[in-house]
């Protein structure tokens, strides 16, 4: 499914030296760039064909709505109201009348065209700089019609990349734990959805407790903890085929799994006789290696993107703190020294930061620090929240938060939230059920 995309560039990229629009994503962006996403134009035959296949009245406008939503939720762009548009979609895609778009204060314009060709969906789109009156980018895709949402995500990624200079994160999925029922008898299922909440699918039935699913950064494999047969063990799941297997042959609980950046190893904790140590298992050779050996609890390991270092959580100092070591377990250094307890360290895909959960005076914080522990920055504070996971471009963190359902502090609800690295743009991610333990996939189209 994923590999069925044929992408080709049909117009050359304009010369890069031209100073066109740029969006700075390193700061909290309080003035999102106003841009217009014109509905993609569609001829009547194509429209009717897609209506029959996809049960969507106008697939051209549906795709443009996806692009619009993605760009809006990034917090960097302000898609303008389509009612103000003066030019018809088909004409705009041929040659926009820039004065018209300038008039409604759009600085960038996205136009496009959808065709039905040999049972396939063909989409072309163009990004225009309104002020400079220039085309910035033009691309076309051909895919199976059912992939129409992904076309919208890919367009969003291309626009994001062209305007910010960094890869996007829209053509991605989130794996998480869907939750139902009272706290004392919570039912938990693995679930997966597109980054924008669409295409939600449950992967397990809820017969056994499942926790902490994590994507392989190199493929569509997932590792997670399952209490199958009441034996908490780390499992490996292929989400394309649905096959799963237990990881290694440990005489006790294995937990806190994550993949190495190349996807070839799983790193996890193994608990025995009251102490938890960190182990790796090579998925090709099945070789198990012990990385830490300490009477304390060592858990929540996460590799640096180059695979040379591991950050982890340990209470060897007496309480939960964050440590960094070399990938063979040598050179262990504590990096968290602020007030409170620190847990769930996750290395940024850019390599420069470690995200964490901090507990201090009855509050939970999601924060980031440099890999040497300096520059600690708390992004969000709440009654209870934990488990940050990075967007593949390292610009957004997704995590989960539990809130009380009434003012008396009774009942509770667990939901997924995202926040920009800047500390701005905190957003609730809507899910059908309660949700926890999110993990962000890498870009599907790369």
């Amino acid at each position: 499914m994923i590999k069925k995309f044929i992408i080709f560039i049909f117009v050359f990229f304009p010369i890069k030296t031209l100073a066109l629009i740029e969006v700075d994503i390193t700061r909290g962006n309080l003035n999102p760039l106003p841009l217009a996403v014109s509905p993609l134009s569609i001829d009547e035959t194509s429209r009717k064909n897609f209506e029959q296949i996809l049960d969507k009245d106008n697939i051209g406008s549906e795709i443009s709505v996806i692009v619009e939503n993605n760009l809006r939720t990034s917090g960097l762009f302000n898609p303008l109201d389509k009612k103000a548009f003066l030019q018809a979609p088909d004409i705009a895609n041929l040659k926009p009348r820039f004065e018209d778009w300038n008039l409604i204060k759009a600085q960038a314009l996205i136009t496009g065209k959808v065709n039905y060709i040999n049972d396939k969906l063909r989409v072309e789109f163009r990004l225009w700089d309104v002020l400079a009156a220039k085309e910035m980018m033009a691309l076309a895709f051909t895919t199976v019609p059912t992939n129409w949402r992904r076309v919208g995500h890919i367009i969003s990624d291309k626009v994001y990349e062209r305007l910010t200079g960094e890869k996007g994160y829209f053509d991605t999925r989130i794996i998480y734990v869907a939750e139902e029922g009272p706290k004392t008898q919570r039912i938990k299922k693995l679930a997966i959805m597109d980054q924008d909440g669409a295409n939600n699918k449950f992967l397990t039935l809820g017969n056994e407790l499942v926790l902490t699913p994590r994507f392989n950064p190199a493929s569509q494999m997932v590792t997670y903890l399952s209490y199958f047969k009441n034996m908490p063990r780390v499992y490996l799941l292929d989400i394309e085929t649905g096959t799963q297997e237990v990881v290694g042959d440990f005489p006790g609980m294995t937990f806190a799994p994550r993949f190495s950046p190349d996807g070839k190893k799983i790193i996890m904790s193994f608990a025995k006789d009251g102490k938890s140590d960190i182990y790796t298992m090579n998925l090709e050779t099945r070789l198990v290696e012990r990385i830490t050996n300490h009477p304390s609890i060592d858990t929540s390991p996460s590799y640096s993107p180059d695979g040379k270092y591991i950050t982890f959580n340990s209470d060897r100092s007496g309480y939960q703190q964050i440590y960094v070591m070399k990938n063979d377990g040598s050179d262990v250094k504590r990096i968290s020294f602020g007030n409170g307890l620190y847990g769930t360290p996750v290395w940024s895909p850019r390599g420069d930061l470690i995200a964490f959960t901090k507990l201090h005076k009855g509050k939970f914080y999601i924060g980031v620090m440099r890999t040497d522990g300096t520059g600690e920055r708390l992004l969000t504070e709440n009654y209870y929240q934990e488990a940050p996971s990075w967007s593949p471009n390292g610009r957004v963190l997704i995590f989960y938060r539990e809130t009380k359902t009434n003012s008396k502090g009774e009942g509770f609800s667990a939901k997924l939230w995202s926040i920009d690295l800047t500390g701005y743009n905190e957003r609730l991610i809507k899910t059908e059920t309660d949700a926890s333990d999110p993990s962000w996939s890498s870009l599907l189209s790369n």
């Binding site: 009272p182 706290k183 004392t184 919570r186 938990k188 407790l209 926790l211 902490t212 903890l225 009441n230 034996m231 908490p232 006790g252 609980m253 937990f255 806190a256 904790s269 608990a271 006789d273 009251g274 102490k275 938890s276 609890i297 858990t299 929540s300 959580n313 209470d315 309480y319 939960q320 847990g343 769930t344 959960t357 507990l359 009855g362 209870y384 934990e386 488990a387 539990e402 009380k404 502090g409 509770f412 333990d437």
Partner: protein, 190 residues
């Protein structure tokens, strides 16, 4: 210093209250006589609820020592006088004197019933990160296991499992609820 300030402010508020009520009574003595009784009733009611609150707090205090639960609300019994669970302080896996007593009773019962095998289920409260709490639950159950072994229960009769914070026995979010949830429970496996 700060306490002094607070006390002073409180005094001011109270005296202001007295003055106000004094004024009010002076003005409408005759007409408001029956209402006065009502207010009295209300006041006694208020005092009663206050008393209830105080006893409630005392009750909570009576159920916890430090932050370890010492009550028996959720406790079940493996046999007469043999409680099934022990409780822990926040982030700790040290057995208290009371816990050791409970475990000695369990050990004696297990020695007397040598065909019985048990699962020790270790738990943590919700105020911690999920993965650390899984490890902590395992450490708590192992603390109980070690003690049972010291008192003559063979390790092959004991299985340990940690649920971390996944299976609280009570769902509240307050110190008392958390104290009931930080536990190791001995469950008959056969």
């Amino acid at each position: 210093m700060r306490l002094n300030k607070i006390l002073k402010n409180a005094l001011l508020v109270i005296s202001a209250g007295i003055i106000l009520t004094a004024c009010a009574t002076k003005k409408e003595v005759a007409v408001e006589a029956p209402k006065k009784e009502e207010t009295k009733k209300e006041e006694t009611k208020k005092e009663e609820t206050k008393k209830e609150e105080v006893t409630k707090i005392e009750k909570i205090a009576g159920q916890m020592q430090g932050d370890v639960y010492i009550g028996n609300d959720s406790v079940k019994y493996l046999a007469d006088g043999v409680a099934d669970r022990v409780f822990f302080a926040t982030n700790e896996s040290i057995l208290t004197t009371a816990s050791r007593e409970t475990l000695r009773a369990q050990a004696a019962w297990l020695r007397a019933n040598s065909n019985i095998t048990v699962v020790l289920e270790g738990h943590a409260d919700e105020r911690g990160t999920r993965e650390y709490n899984l490890a902590l639950g395992e450490r708590r159950a192992n603390a109980a296991k070690d003690y049972l072994m010291t008192y003559g229960v063979s390790s092959d009769r004991i299985t340990v499992i940690s649920y971390g914070k996944e299976r609280p026995v009570v769902s509240g979010s307050n110190p008392l609820a958390w104290s009931k949830n930080r536990r190791s429970v001995t469950v008959k496996a056969n």
